[in-house]
Symmetry: D2
Subunit: 168 residues, 4 copies
């Protein structure tokens, strides 16, 4: 597997790494996320571990695509519930991130996940679609669905994020 | 890194893989989990991705140990919330698993996680301690704390599992 | 206040009480709920305590209307979080109820509520709108929003219900 | 029923009402809550609706006692899930309240409740025991159990509260 490959057919142009802090400070959340999709920044390391990428972002919405595999199995041979939790947490946080003005940061306070249908390496490519339910001044609430290629809901999550000012 | 290594100083004797279904069917949950710790079965693939292992198990309790690292970072350079969610989900499910009689299976219905303190690659080794709050006939509820070496709570979760009969 | 009054302008034709068990057994959930709205059954006692009523029901959806008041204050003079939780739990469970075939029952396993905006006796009439996210054979997941007259989200909840056969 | 009676055998000396804002501003949370138990302030209106009272409070802990009744039934003749949610939310918030310094306020951000055993008017007196899991500077996390007279867990909840400075 190429070192820029997330899963077969899905590569990231800049490989994996972090976004420099000054980049995060110097623009809105939506701008940062759009440039991440455009390949101006590396994808996060966790993306590679978990085989998923940010695919789309709008004001208060986002879509992650991923491919659960053998590498994510629990002892019983199903994909670990943590896989769904991780891609959902990414979508739940990212759609909140897209609402941040320059100078604002956010952190996840809590999230809840319902595991609805079993996920296996045969499930294929899935999408986690996040949307902001309410964006307050200091608290945001979001929800996300994880769906398979036929639109069946595999998992469902809701999240609370704290919004705060970030300094230079 | 050796192929049986989960993180420095923590190896699994049988490498990574699944537990044969007949093994899961032929004994109680507690027996299966004790033999997993004793090295009679491989560790799950997700353990290797996420750098954690089941360390202790009792009737309705368990402890996972893990080491978050650079490989688990989110775009902002902190350990992804999905890492805490995954080790907590493991502990939340495993302590329920330990209460299963032979012929019973379980599945996670939902879980909620509070992310309380930031986790970084400098956090070092952590423990996720799970305990069953209530074991009903068809539903079990558990909670788990993720603590650092000083006992500080990093994250906290609760989970609902469904219990059902499993056939031969 | 008339004994059939839930809040000013909102009365229930049959007063308050329970639905006979044989009525619940003899029809689908949707049929039962539609007849409850039509006034063929009494409203539940909790409706009177909490000033809300079931106003609309469809296949997998429902709307409750309510009026929080002085009677529902917490020690600090705001409407108690339990008021929002109770009307949301009603909507979260009722939309699942509407999907039950004759011979099926349900019970709430868990629910989570985000309290988003303060509620006061000045808030006026509110609506809790529930919708089923996924209806499995034995587990259903729903969500509901509590909104004020301007459509502002006051609170948001998700719920897990267990579905089971009920005997004669 | 006397107008100061919450349920048979349980009365509140000052009746029902609010605590003046200057009282809340002028002392720590623990001091306020201890004086509420001592009967120096009225009990909240919601207490009377829901038949429960604050019985004990310590640093980061509290106990509510209550008596579910016919007045709290859902359409099917069981005590409404909102009753358990309301007494648990009271305990979940109150134990956080007990950790507030003078000049600090708090608000509930979200809570989750597992309904574990059915509650009926025959259940009798119950206790909701709350305890703080973690008290951060701006966020606190708590949990609470609702138990019957035999110590059986009826319901279980966790809560996230926001802490903030309150002005004069």
């Amino acid at each position: 597997m190429s070192e820029n490959e997330v899963y077969p057919g899905q590569t990231v142009p800049r490989g994996f790494g972090q976004i420099p802090r000054e980049e995060a400070l110097g623009q809105s959340g939506l701008s940062l996320l759009k440039r991440m999709i455009a390949g101006e920044y590396p994808a996060p390391a966790m993306s590679q571990r978990m085989n998923f990428v940010l695919a789309e972002v709008g004001e208060g919405t986002c879509v992650f695509r991923g491919m659960p595999g053998e590498r994510h199995l629990n002892p019983m041979g199903a994909v670990h519930g943590g896989w769904a939790a991780t891609i959902l947490d990414s979508a739940l946080g990212c759609c909140v991130h897209s609402t941040l003005a320059q100078g604002e940061g956010y952190g996840t306070v809590e999230f809840k996940v319902n595991l609805i249908r079993p996920i296996t390496p045969q499930t294929g490519e899935v999408e986690a679609r996040g949307v902001v339910i309410n964006r307050g001044r200091t608290i945001a609430v979001s929800e996300a669905k994880l769906v398979d290629r036929n639109g069946k809901v595999l998992a469902f999550g809701t999240e609370t994020c704290a919004i705060y000012p970030i300094g230079k």
